[in-house]
Symmetry: C2
Subunit: 726 residues, 2 copies
Amino acid sequence: MGLQVITMKVYRIHEKITKYRFGNPFPTDGVLVKGDPWEKEGMDYFQVEQGTEIRLTYKMDSKDMVWGLGENQRGMNKRGGIYVSYCSDDPRHTPDKKSLYGAHNFMIVDGRERFGLFIDYPGQVAFDVGFSHTDVIEIIIDGTDADIYIIDGEGLREIVRKFFHIIGEGYAPPKWAFGYQQSRWSYPDAKTIEGVAEAFIDHDIPCDAIYLDIDYMEGFKDFTVSEDRFPDFPRFVEKMREKGFRLVPIIDAGVKIEKGYGVYEEGIQGGYFCTDGEGKPFVAAVWPGKVHFPDFLNPEARRWFGLKYKGLIDWGIEGFWNDMNEPAIFYTERGLKKGIELAKQSENENLDMDSFFALKDAFIHMSNHREDYQSMYHHVDGKQVNHHEVHNLYGYYMTRAAAEGFEEIAPNKRFLLFSRASYIGMHRFGGIWTGDNHSWWEHILLNLKMMPSLNMCGFLYAGADTGGFGGDANAQLLIRWTQFSLFTPLFRNHSAIGGRRQEPFSFDQETTEMIRKAIQFRYALIPYIYSEYMKALLHRDMYMLPLAFAYEDEISRRVENQLLVGDGLMIAPIYEENALGRYVWLPEDMLLWKVDDYRERSYEIKRKGHLYLEVGLHEIPVFIRKNKMLIFGNHGRNTEVLDHRELYVVAFIEDRAQYVYYDDDGLTKDYKKEKYTEIRISIERREEDFEIKIENRENRQVKRIHFEMVDIHGNIAKKTVVLAAQ
Amino acid sequence: MGLQVITMKVYRIHEKITKYRFGNPFPTDGVLVKGDPWEKEGMDYFQVEQGTEIRLTYKMDSKDMVWGLGENQRGMNKRGGIYVSYCSDDPRHTPDKKSLYGAHNFMIVDGRERFGLFIDYPGQVAFDVGFSHTDVIEIIIDGTDADIYIIDGEGLREIVRKFFHIIGEGYAPPKWAFGYQQSRWSYPDAKTIEGVAEAFIDHDIPCDAIYLDIDYMEGFKDFTVSEDRFPDFPRFVEKMREKGFRLVPIIDAGVKIEKGYGVYEEGIQGGYFCTDGEGKPFVAAVWPGKVHFPDFLNPEARRWFGLKYKGLIDWGIEGFWNDMNEPAIFYTERGLKKGIELAKQSENENLDMDSFFALKDAFIHMSNHREDYQSMYHHVDGKQVNHHEVHNLYGYYMTRAAAEGFEEIAPNKRFLLFSRASYIGMHRFGGIWTGDNHSWWEHILLNLKMMPSLNMCGFLYAGADTGGFGGDANAQLLIRWTQFSLFTPLFRNHSAIGGRRQEPFSFDQETTEMIRKAIQFRYALIPYIYSEYMKALLHRDMYMLPLAFAYEDEISRRVENQLLVGDGLMIAPIYEENALGRYVWLPEDMLLWKVDDYRERSYEIKRKGHLYLEVGLHEIPVFIRKNKMLIFGNHGRNTEVLDHRELYVVAFIEDRAQYVYYDDDGLTKDYKKEKYTEIRISIERREEDFEIKIENRENRQVKRIHFEMVDIHGNIAKKTVVLAAQ
């Protein structure tokens, strides 16, 4: 390939944001701001070359770090790896995997220079971040039409905020989606689900939702419910709601090919399916057997599919997870035929090893084959678009279809919605879960490292399968993972068929007890978690952050196993088996609360520096940052019965701290019309005491706040403030 | 299965070692001591049940730890996992893998009670160490004939030593095998190998050996050398020796079925191959295509195969690695036929997912299939033995074949020999490498954790593929891994075909420089490494130990990322990407030497406790324990040209330290006849000075020793001692 610098159009999006446009990009709706044409020579920071692809190179300084890239392997600092944005259904997340389910092309170079970069291109993009050459970033965009955004800024967090301003406000799930959620592939029938619900009640473990994995459907057909296994489904949904549980069904991307099946028939009649090269609906095989894929990029097809959710919504469903939307392909006729042909040719042959491995590989690599994606087409604005070139939009647009459907079906209602595949921009429509991880200790740490990277790409509502999806968890792994996940907005335990059961009560009594306490603590924290989440959305900020986003010292910049959660907390989870404790870096003095039963509180001041912290299996270390506070309440058996008349604040005050406690109805989009409440709290250290000021903006639920304030010397003061009636 | 306690015979092996014999075990020669019958009721520690299998259960205390199990996943503390001893060729060492290449059934329970356990059973043994039930060890022996040894002891190291006394003295490789070794699958011809050798010379990087992976053979036929690619092989071997490099060819287990190929013809004529159920030679396909497997359990076949090495030895070869000896099976007719049948049946079918995955799995799981192992037979003492029941002996006995062959070919010569598959007892014949790992950071840590576990099972000569076999290393990974591996007896860089080159000079100049310094340091350390290795062998001790084997404090017991190396050193390698340092636990005051160029020495005393240690990419932190010393020399381009007339000792002395420096000819087995030399050094702290005493036992090489002695306050004294002429 001959590479050469070519002309590009430059747009000024904002004082500090520049868009470089190459060719005629497919509109992704990743960025909502168009900007104005701008006369400018060359691209900042990068050397650009173009032939049949666009290649960007940047020379790093030896200490430069690179943040971002969302759902990917390796560290928060991405330096040293290759990452390929191409949404992939790969259920073994080993350290060498270059593509997972998401395509999140935003990163920040942080060192000698500091800037953000977003490659808005819906096909494959490869990022070589100092892998091939220790000091070179090389980005290869697999096409000639792309928008590239460069964001300047002083601070890391500032760059992210600017990015969030151009990609738009994130998705707000209903408040119940911040409760604990229980899943398994599969709870196949109503009886099983009732049993699970009863077990939560019997064990006094709070829970808001139980999931319906693929087996709830009739023959894996989207928008159907098996009548055998769920007789009178609407009544069952209602009954579960009465018990305090919402049901969350899965929706897969592929629509089963079956005469008489309404969704299939409508799709055919409407011409809503992706096609093959001959214009016939593209055929792939997934869970239901042969399917067609809805053409979510086509607005009509999108609306059609989005409104299909209405059936389940009318039956009382308020949350969905969209799956298999990379889209995953188990096989196509092409791939199967190729494999079978090879097998037939191998019959009675003394295969040499090349032939044998070619045969074996034909089956191993039959699924999610590039050739299949290249044989599928979308139809947008009268044009035929090859799927491969816009591959990374598929899950995003499926989720957009759902969200736009919900908007039409129940305009002001918030639904739980998250997806497996994603692209930047999808955060406006739903969250994500990190797909089919494993019951590996290493995956707790991966989960931890991924969270801030996802946050940087807009995905605040996110979480991993707690306990691990594939493989078998042991009790300790589930305890430790739960103790971490309780801080993630999406807090779901999910496991795969054939693997060990991993509901909180699936192990011994002591384990159940420890997990109960961790989940109860989550519910106690909901005032904080919800407040921080919603403020992050509204202020275009992150919810989970690397330490480097708040502390500039060299150690904080490199910490890969601690996180900041919202405004006030730092967490340092245990992610190693049989560990009795761990090392923690404190970038400043902090107040440590080792939570066992959250109703029993005791604090220790830990001084700035390195710390070895003993952590019992029953303990969750929580650090409250200096001049910050943590607000929480009491737990309840689900989010709806939480009683927030009394709240608690633990504050660690050197001189003064301020906190804005946000709340809203948790169910509607009225918060967008500024219909939310705030309690603004400020605490000031006085000579012998603390002065608390409270400004209550419309909150009618909270009646009293109990304060525990610790000063830098460890002096504790307790006060209770009664809020004036509103 | 109905389980019941059955009678067993009890033998007293030693005051503290008891053997419990069930049924009529197949002789493994794992243990060399028979012991005397003993009247004893019941088994100590364990509850035993027997039906069609033997099941042992032990109730653990909450703080009990479990050490050992050799080549396995997870921590040094094995608690929490399931481990299945069944030698397996599985090239993806993810945390969930229960079987790797070795079957090492020795463990130590360490807590409320402390004892060792060795299950001497050559078939499958499963260890559930607190996985299914947090506090239960359950061991299932897949048969009714087994010897179980229980070893009592006060200390962990004492238990290991007792175990080593019954399994026999370990294998001593030649001294050159402690040099750096370079491998790749493949250096396919003489020219490539010469190029690699030249590159080592040009880059001034010491190296003792270059490996010949499978492509050196003619059609993958054992004991052949391709004449095309290696014209005049003996001359080539000689020429490489002149340049300072030994060549180490691979030998695979399977013998190609090919008319006229001598090894095949002899095997057929002698009846030396394993058979199928009908008594015909068992056929499997591996690298050469169809092969037979030599019946290494049959003494005649073993001798025949062992003497086959003579051809290569006569051509000047002095070292071998035995591979594919689980034995790995790519496919058999049975498995291939089954896959092809399924494929044919699938033609033109609309497969449901069960059928599709059954088809895919038939190919994915075609290799190393249990059914194939169950269809293969050995012939021992006139009896037919099903391979599956003695599966774990195969690699061991192949390596024994080689070692017994060497003994006959050149009785007093030491050969380099190591194997992929192994069983306890094989350590008397050769070492092991840990198989096909990956270029994953996680695998540096796995390598570190595995080393002491392997040591506990007798395998002192061991090491992993430095830089990782599968996948692609980046420069930093190779640097960090090399900085760890330089302490392992087997120090080899190996990588797979299709992956990135990872010789020390394959990256940028700075990387080459850092790796050069690390390898030069290895060569400088050879006096220490060789001395410690040989003393460990002769004293039935370990070379690499968990901290817990020397320090009893609760933190040391749990440290999973530091090791003791020999008598004097503690190491704390960096195994995380982009890390600027790491945390280290110091169980006592130690002397830290951050090695860059080992000729430039500077020390710091680090006090007992937790430490955050900054470690530059060019630095190798080495801790010298209190009242211990480190002896070393200067590097050379290979082990043969090392000049040890001047040695250096760095000692960290509170009151006194003693060290025995061992050396021998490094080539023969004369050390077994006490033909070795010792320099016994003792240093005593006097009021203002140190007193050095040296007792030279026969060493004629060392003329002078330069001492640097640091006392507990950091005072340094330097002295040079001239050794009296011997």
